[in-house]
Symmetry: C2
Subunit: 322 residues, 2 copies
């Protein structure tokens, strides 16, 4: 399997008029401000229920663009492949990328392939970079949360992290866990059309909702308070977390977002999300307050009314979750 052969395979599977031109760089027309991002993907196992590294590499970067309010448009992909990796698995991975691209309405416009000797990489790593256009007037940032904002999560929490973990531990559940791996560009587009009061969007990947809320609290200089019983979970994720001794709030998600919305617009945004494919289980989980103590904090209120500090997940994070 030579590098050229692989490059041809990718060129064919991901074909579009821009990619087909095969120049050193793609030439694109974009109006106005652009968003630009990157994500490396090293997930293990490479194939998992609900997706694979191909789908994940597309949705990860598409979602990063959507989280600044951009319309995802163009993707580049750099592949690092271990010599001896099966060609049929590569074909499956690239087909997944194509499906995700078509679903999200984006194009892969440039690619690069490097083959390294056996043992110098583990199967395949994919680094995707994305460009999107930011509509006029949209200013979404992790530092825009304001006291009074309502916090909405777009669906059940922890699905991706619990799936990868249980696969690695070799655990079997009666109902199989499934990654939530999905492109959120359309959901965000619909939300932005419904309201100009969306202040923050973020996808809670590594470190989960706990990390995301802590980052936003610090960036915006606010306190965040969530109500634990309002957070949506799948039963099988809860079961897996109990078995593994994990808090689902720190598990990675790959098809969910957290939105901070002006109070007056929260109802319409929630309704819009619930009408969208990847927002059907959306729920209000908390709100933003003025900073109470010496520094911004995230609090979780339990069913019984007590309140604990939900801290930033620390120590070694699980490697190769995405």
């Amino acid at each position: 399997m030579t590098q050229e052969l692989v490059a041809q395979l990718f060129g064919k599977a991901l074909s579009n008029p821009i990619l087909d031109r095969m120049d050193d760089a793609a030439s694109l027309d974009i109006e106005g401000r652009i968003a630009f991002t990157v994500d490396s993907h090293v997930v293990s196992p490479i194939f998992f229920p609900g997706g694979d590294i191909g789908r994940l590499s597309m949705t990860g970067t598409i979602n990063d663009l959507a989280m600044v309010g951009a319309r995802p448009l163009y993707i580049t992909a750099g592949f690092i492949i271990e010599e001896g990796f099966l060609l049929e698995e590569l074909v499956r991975i690239v087909a997944s990328m194509r499906d995700a691209a078509d679903e999200a309405g984006v194009q892969v416009v440039a690619g690069d392939t490097k083959v390294v000797e056996r043992g110098a990489a583990d199967g395949v790593f994919i680094t995707t970079s994305g460009v999107g256009s930011i509509p006029d007037g949209v200013r979404i940032s992790g530092s825009n949360a304001r006291p009074g904002d309502i916090i909405i999560v777009s669906g059940t929490i922890g699905d991706h992290g619990a799936t990868i973990l249980s696969k690695r531990e070799g655990m079997d559940f009666e109902v199989e866990l499934q990654s939530d791996c999905a492109p959120l560009g359309r959901l965000v587009e619909e939300m932005l059309a419904a309201s100009s009061g969306i202040h923050v969007l973020r996808d809670p990947t590594r470190g989960g909702v706990a990390a995301t809320l802590n980052e936003i609290a610090v960036s915006s200089g606010v306190d965040v308070e969530i109500e634990e019983e309002k957070i949506p979970y799948r039963g099988e994720v809860r079961a897996a977390c109990e078995l593994l001794g994990l808090d689902p709030l720190v598990l990675a998600n790959e098809g969910k977002l957290v939105a901070f919305v002006a109070e007056n617009d929260a109802a319409i945004v929630l309704e819009t999300m619930r009408a969208s494919r990847y927002g059907a289980d959306a729920a209000v989980i908390g709100r933003v307050a003025e900073v109470e103590s010496s520094r911004p904090r995230v609090y979780a209120r339990t069913l019984l009314g007590s309140r604990r500090i939900l801290s930033m997940p620390t120590g070694e994070q699980l490697p190769r979750i995405c």
Copy 2:
């Protein structure tokens, strides 16, 4: 060495106002058409005379942008790091990236870091993606070569490939070989300012000048003829090639370009290149002709006047040259 620690190190070393915002994607203002490209870098050894994987990852992507006539502006970098890789080596690599960025006038606007377990990668891999702006009226493409065009190379050939190869073979030369690894954005800008007759630009990386000329011949549907004695080489590269039994025309370059220029503009373009830092050894090496036989070919004329077909380098290419 945790992922967070590394991310902080990178954020500090590559700091600029856009990167510092730490949103999921960078938000940028660019006028007009944009160029977008990607390159994964897996070079071994990671440090080599004339550069390292950090400098190479910047210049590789900067040069891809320049080769479509774009002004390189913004870079993203995805790092895949093997657990246990030395922090001080990472510091050196990121400092190299910063130096190359400053030299080329580009900014690293987003980054991602994944740490994988020992043995799952070999040291560090860096995938960079770049965005540049294409000036109005610039239409540079591998398919634009026309009969009569003059072919110019920007300097000595084979320096990078010969350096990596001889390091791997453990060879020692009296005069040390050095990679040519350099950003070519300014050189291209000056060339475009001097002439509107530049039809093709390409950097002869993997597969060297031989591969580049063959690609252009096929894309443009023309024959290419070069004169062997006009191709500039360093003496130590020639010596290394003789020892290793290699043709310098198939060796990778990382700071050179090949330009196809309208005959009338060739003199002014050559003069402009020679006045520029990375074009001092520029030379005319050949010209474009109508296709002579059934398909486009590249011919090399020897000092004695005989002519051989310079074919596309085939078979397994040297892995991890960049």
